[in-house]
């Protein structure tokens, strides 16, 4: 069972308290009613499936209830970092440097 650090609660909690919510940093277009079919396809249907670092959304659903983002390695399953919703993608090299 993974341990996930909730950036709002500021502590690691067991995976059971969380729910995954798909790829992160996909903003809903503010003019969504006007976008083209291709733009809608890219926004709604197309997702990366990387081997390596992925940015994904989680919700601390059985805790504070907040959605947040995480950078995780899909090979090792290890979380590199978690951060609050709305924050930009972190500099992973800097994060790794801090941990080392």
């Amino acid at each position: 069972m993974l341990l996930i650090r909730c950036p709002y609660c500021e502590e690691e909690r067991p995976e059971l308290e969380f729910r995954g919510a798909g790829e992160a940093h996909i903003a809903r277009p503010t003019n969504i009613a006007e976008i083209s079919d291709e733009e809608f396809e890219a926004f709604f249907f197309l997702r990366d499936n990387p081997r390596g670092v992925t940015f994904e959304r989680w919700r601390h659903i059985h805790g504070c209830g907040r959605f947040f983002n995480a950078a995780r390695d899909t090979v090792s399953d290890k979380f590199i970092t978690t951060y609050k919703a709305g924050e930009p993608k972190p500099d992973l090299d800097a994060v790794r440097g801090e941990k080392a």
């Binding site: 069972m1 009613a33 809608f40 919700r59 959605f67 090792s76």
Partner: protein, 992 residues
């Protein structure tokens, strides 16, 4: 029976503590601390079971959890029967009842052994080839016959009366394995102040010290030192020692699952749980899991009386039991010599030591000479012979030549030691092939763990203990505990574990088993390679090598080596199969634990549920809720009850417990704007005190949920959802609020369980409700359909909705949940005066279908838009944005010919269609027919006097009046497409 193989003065059990147990109905004497295996051996019994496929007689090979042969059934009652228990693990207690398996009529005379004669037909892959044809015969004939003939123990049929416990635990350092190395590591970590858990699968810690006689540590025998070390650890507050506890699963982030066997060794477990599951999260894990001795592969290597060297020594040195009176040793490893020497010293005759290797270490040959034991170096056992027990061995030079026969009653074997890398491998660590010692060893750890001692390839005890101490200190330091005294452990003498052989020992005569438990021979492995299996993963599946419950602990290396030899490849090129958990079998009880029966899942009940139970309701599960389905009276069946309830609601009135409806309070200055985004409807335009039926879409434009929304105040909405949809709707709303529209000032609260909801529906509804409502004019003019008010009902604060899911005049009375039952009972009494009934979910379904009201998830399936469902009116035309606005414009969603919700009537009004049945336009077309839709809801409608159905049909609204067809297995039913409203199509009753 007397214990004639128990050697006086040998072993660590107390002769004064006698016990009695049963094996196959016969009573045997044993000593406290015996395993079933050691006790049987003490009584001269080696024959313990029959093999899986060939029903070959099998004995006791090992003294540990790796035992593949001596699997027994243990039971005191039919319900507590446990099949496939390792006799080498099960401890004897007074009165223990055990029996052998996979034999009929008896262990010594087993008719199934004729399978051995058919061996040529049972070789690797024979199932795949032989039983391919005819296809139908597999289920009817082959499978039942094979299942009967092959197999191990039989599962109990009754529910397990035992209980199981579960614990979560955190520690700085988890040490797996209580051998000398693990003990040293635990001492070092504990002395530094770290919190330590040490677990070991045996009843007592000590590991290899149990069998070794040559080790001396800190002035004592290895075993005595180990017991002192355990005592020292147990006395420390920061240490937990768990014996009879197997670490069976190594999960991510140092989450390790342990199974503790609490009472299996006790005659009376009293109130203790049978087993306890420990879920341990450790900052550091030290794996001191040791190594497992493997067999040598030669003909007859499975005869009872053949035993591993460490096992023979364990039985002698720990249990005081001699494996035989006239023994021989066949080895490729130094460590087996100790077994010969110990047995010779204990009085057994050692006929010969056959060493596969050409060179025998000098000190071993000198000791053998002193004891008068002949060594044949560079020789091999060609075949072991005997019927129910080994009687002789034939020995020849490795290069061939004359065979010599030695009569023996036991053959001690050792093919060397395989490091136990299972848990390391489960932790995702990769193993690396060590060419020098011909074995796989742990590489770099992936998690915060370290491997020490024999599992890390360290054969030397002194080096292993030093490794353990270093690892213990390092782990404690990493967990924030530096300092403390280093444990003083001086290894003064130890034994050699050098040597080993992987693969078959020369040209084979007879059956040479690689995997005892699955009856896989060396010949099977070679055959698999000949038939084109070149990867070990394929060899494994084709032969089933390593797929038994011992998971190849003995067979993996041999299988790999033989496959590599057949291919002419180096061993690492053939690959290694993945080690899976559990390390040893774990009972379902341990895993399921408390989560069974009433505790299997949450049960949700409304506050009115007790009344429904008292009044004979029949319940159904809706999500986790128990909902009253119907209320039979006077022996009614479901149809009679539902027909009566349906009729009564439309003629008088009915009461319905709608408390399970999901409810979400949407509050804040931007609540209207937020609701506009969440629902297709223009919710911000909804007036205070009004209700609106709302549809929620996903971004792709498909219906996600529906429900009635009430505007309590300018900044406050009372949102209802489907019963099953409440959690995901709130999740969906929170997702948008937190991540897409965080600028909106809105707060969402689940209030499902805060409100009890009493629905009163029917022409008499107003008269029933009116006397209890304070401060609201309930006339249609003042409080029309789709109105709401905050008021008091029965003196209780309430939110009163005038709303209907039946098509009748209706009220839904929301009161604080705690008042639900009392309000319900007052309205029940009042309703009775007007001939009202109580109705359940089945009647609710029929009544709403009569009106063509959809149920999301039944009449929609995630591919249905509001327009498809006929609810296009609920989609705002002027809103600039809502979730789904763009998805609804996708070309496929606006194309002609989409499936649309329509009604269906059958020409025979009594014929009720099956829900889910497919619909075709032309019943005479060839199969496979083009299906143009399916039935989503179908009922007998008492009020319409006929059957009714809702269906999704391609281009359905353009097919009104058309005849379509529903093909069923026994007939094809003609149906007419109609509007989806069957009762009161003008909707006049709603406004009554």
């Amino acid at each position: 029976m007397s214990q004639s193989f128990r050697i006086p003065g040998k072993g660590r059990l107390s002769p004064s503590r006698g016990l009695r147990f049963f094996f196959d109905g016969k009573a045997f004497d044993a000593l406290e601390g015996d395993t079933v295996a050691s006790a049987l051996l003490a009584n001269g019994v080696h024959l313990a079971g029959r093999s899986y496929k060939y029903h070959r007689p099998r004995g006791i090979l090992t003294a540990g959890s790796e035992e593949p042969n001596a699997l027994i059934g243990v039971s005191n009652t039919a319900a507590t029967h446990v099949p496939n228990v390792r006799a080498t693990v099960q401890e004897v207690h007074d009165g223990l009842v055990t029996r052998s398996q996979n034999r009929w009529p008896s262990l010594a005379f087993d008719l199934g052994a004729v399978n051995s004669l058919g061996a040529p037909f049972f070789s690797a892959g024979f199932y795949y080839k032989t039983f391919m044809w005819p296809k139908a015969a597999w289920k009817a004939l082959y499978e039942p016959v094979i299942r009967q003939a092959a197999g191990l123990g039989v599962s109990p049929k009754e529910p397990d009366p035992d209980h199981y416990a579960s614990r979560y635990e955190h520690c700085d350092v988890l040490v797996v394995g209580g051998g000398a190395v693990g003990l040293a590591a635990a001492l070092a970590a504990a002395n530094a102040g770290a919190s330590v858990i040490l677990c070991d699968e045996q009843a007592q810690c000590g590991g290899a010290m149990r069998h070794e006689s040559g080790a001396r540590i800190s002035g004592r025998s290895g075993w005595d030192w180990a017991q002192d070390a355990v005592a020292q650890l147990k006395a420390m507050d920061n240490v937990r020692v768990l014996t009879r506890t197997t670490a069976f699963g190594y999960h991510t982030q140092n989450f390790v699952a342990l199974a503790e066997r609490v009472t299996d060794h006790l005659a009376d477990g009293k109130d203790l749980p049978r087993e306890r599951l420990w879920q341990v999260r450790a900052k550091r894990v030290i794996l001191a899991t040791g190594a497992i001795e493997r067999q040598l592969v030669f003909g007859g290597n499975d005869l009872p009386g053949v035993m591993f060297a460490n096992a023979a020594r364990t039985y002698l040195n720990h249990y005081g039991v001699a494996a035989g009176r006239k023994v021989a040793v066949f080895t490729a490893c130094d460590s087996a010599y100790g077994a010969a020497f110990d047995l010779a010293r204990a009085g057994s005759a050692v006929a010969v030591i056959v060493d596969w290797r050409h060179d025998v270490p000098e000190d071993l040959s000198r000791q053998a000479q002193e004891l008068g034991i002949k060594i044949l170096a560079g020789h091999r056992v060609v075949q072991a012979k005997g019927r129910l027990r080994i009687a002789s061995i034939s020995v020849a030079h490795r290069d061939g030549g004359q065979e010599r026969s030695f009569p023996v009653d036991s053959l001690i074997i050792s093919g060397g030691w395989t490091p136990s890398v299972h848990l390391y491998s489960q932790s995702r660590g990769k193993v690396a092939w060590d060419a020098d010692t011909q074995r796989f060893l742990p590489g770099d750890p992936v998690q915060d763990c370290v491997t020490v001692g024999a599992c890390d390839g360290t054969d030397d005890l002194a080096r292993g203990v030093a490794q353990g101490i270093e690892a213990g200190k390092a782990a404690a330091t990493a967990a924030g505990h530096a300092g403390g005294d280093q444990p003083d452990v001086a290894v003064e003498a130890c034994e050699s574990y050098a040597g080993g052989l992987a693969g078959d020992a020369g040209q084979i005569k007879g059956k040479a088993f690689v995997d005892y438990q699955n009856d896989v021979t060396a010949k099977d492995i070679r055959q698999a390679v000949r038939e084109g299996m070149h990867s070990i993963e394929h060899v494994k599946r084709f032969t089933t090598n390593g797929m038994a419950s011992d998971q190849g602990k003995l067979s993996n290396m041999h299988g790999l080596a033989i496959a590599a030899d057949s291919l002419g490849w180096p061993i690492p090129d053939v690959g290694l199969t993945t080690f899976r958990q559990p390390y040893t079998p774990v009972t379902f009880g341990t895993i399921v634990n408390h989560g069974r029966g009433d505790l299997f899942d949450v049960t949700r009940r409304t506050t009115i549920d007790g009344w429904a139970q008292d009044n004979g309701a029949v319940f159904e599960d809706v999500g986790n809720w128990k909902r009253a389905r119907f209320f039979p009276q006077g022996g009614e069946d479901m149809h009679a009850a539902v027909n009566r309830e349906c009729r009564t609601v439309r003629e008088a009135a009915g009461l319905f417990d709608a408390s399970t409806l999901g409810k979400i309070e949407v509050v804040g200055p931007d609540a209207g704007a937020f609701m506009d985004l969440m629902y297709t409807n223009p919710m911000s335009k909804l007036g205070v005190g009004k209700l609106r039926y709302g549809i929620m879409c996903r971004e792709d434009g498909f219906v996600y949920d529906d429900g009635v929304v009430g505007r309590v105040a300018e900044d406050r909405f009372h949102v209802t959802t489907t019963t099953g949809g409440a959690p995901r709707v709130l999740h969906h709303m929170e997702d948008y609020l937190q991540t897409e529209f965080p600028h909106l000032k809105v707060w969402l609260t689940s209030v499902t369980e805060q409100w009890a909801v009493v629905a009163v529906q029917g022409p008499k509804a107003r008269e029933i409700v009116a006397p209890f409502v304070s401060g609201v004019d309930l006339s249609t003019e003042a409080f029309p359909h789709m109105s709401m008010a905050e008021c008091e009902v029965c003196g209780v604060p309430a939110r009163l909705f005038r709303v209907s899911f039946t098509g009748e005049t209706g009220f839904e009375i929301n009161v604080p949940a705690a008042y639900g039952r009392s309000v319900w009972e007052i309205l029940q009494a009042r309703g009775a005066e007007f001939g009202a009934c109580t109705y359940g979910t089945e009647t609710m379904h029929v009544l709403r279908a009569e009106k063509g009201y959809i149920i999301v998830g039944q009449d929609t399936d995630g591919t249905v838009t509001p327009f498809d469902a006929g609810y296009g009116w609920a989609v705002a035309k002027k809103k600039k944005d809502f979730v789904g606005i763009r998805g609804l414009k996708r070309p496929d969603l606006v194309a002609d010919g989409r499936k649309q919700l329509v009604g269906l009537t059958t020409s025979d009004p009594a014929m009720v269609l099956e829900e889910g049945a497919q619909i075709v336009a032309d019943p005479n077309q060839p199969v496979p027919m083009t299906m143009i839709g399916h039935v989503t809801s179908s009922y007998w409608s008492e009020n319409c006097g006929r059957s009714i159905a809702l269906a999704l049909v391609a281009g359905g609204r353009d097919r009104m009046g058309q005849t379509l067809h529903v093909p069923m297995p026994d007939r094809t039913i003609a149906v007419t497409v109609t509007e989806p409203v069957f009762f009161d199509p003008k909707g006049e009753r709603l406004h009554g």
